[in-house]
């Protein structure tokens, strides 16, 4: 909020670079009543859901993370919401969070307007739901979805489980 988010990908935040997904975030509530921690995957899931809410976002993730999402969905306990977190990386500190998103947009959407709407929705959702301050949301649009691709693209690898090859 206070610092304008820079579009450069090489951003430095106050949190150490090692604290990525999996590290817990801590809400500043270290009173005598005990402390409250919110796992990074919570922030990740909320950001993913908020980004998908914007119409014009076709799917999320680059080729690699979409492939990982498909793999993760087949692992028992790999997370039922694995499709929610594809294309979302978060870095969480004690009071702040930074979010990186990989988007595939629909052809015809204004990418600048779309990115602005996604950023606003993600910031609102994460700040309201977790109480963490979102310092930046970096958006990478890495593909565009054309309507005529629908017949072969609609079953996205992350969304539809492949039919079993063995009986």
């Amino acid at each position: 909020m206070s610092t304008p988010s820079t579009p450069s990908s090489a951003t430095t935040t106050t949190a150490s670079a090692a604290s990525t997904a999996g590290s817990p975030a801590r809400i500043a509530e270290d009173t005598t009543q005990g402390k409250t921690t919110i796992a990074a995957s919570v922030v990740q899931k909320i950001a993913g859901i908020a980004a998908r809410e914007i119409s014009g976002v076709h799917s999320m993730g680059g080729g690699v993370s979409r492939a990982f999402g498909a793999i993760r969905e087949r692992i028992p306990g790999g997370g039922t919401g694995a499709s929610n977190i594809a294309g979302v990386q978060v870095e969480v500190g004690e009071k702040q969070a930074a979010v990186d998103l990989d988007l595939v947009v629909e052809y015809g959407a204004s990418i600048v307007d779309l990115a602005r709407a996604v950023r606003r929705n993600v910031i609102t959702a994460v700040e309201r739901m977790t109480g963490l301050e979102v310092i930046e949301v970096n958006i990478a649009v890495n593909d565009i979805h054309l309507p005529e691709e629908d017949d072969d693209v609609t079953p996205t690898p992350a969304a539809v489980p492949a039919p079993s090859r063995v009986e």
Partner: protein, 106 residues
Amino acid sequence: MSPLSDDDLARTLAETVTADPAVARLDGGVFGAVATYLPGGRLVGVRVDPDPTAPVEVAVVLHLGAPIPTVVAGLRARIARVLGDRPVDLTVSDVVAGPVDVQVEI
């Protein structure tokens, strides 16, 4: 401090926490370490330290819907009715798409 044994305290806490409609289930925390070993099974999601001054650990998975700090405050109030002023370390390990109120929100 508490008249209940640690095992009974863990069971009571588990019931108290899951009674909250915003709680989807209890969870083992990051390494599954938040658990109590009871005769007959492992109670995942609540850990009562034998030291009565040490914090009790609780880990939950919440339904999405209400802001998490609000839900946590409500949970702490419920827990405090059981524990009194013993400190509680509360972990929100995950969230799941909520029941009804999320659809309304979208």
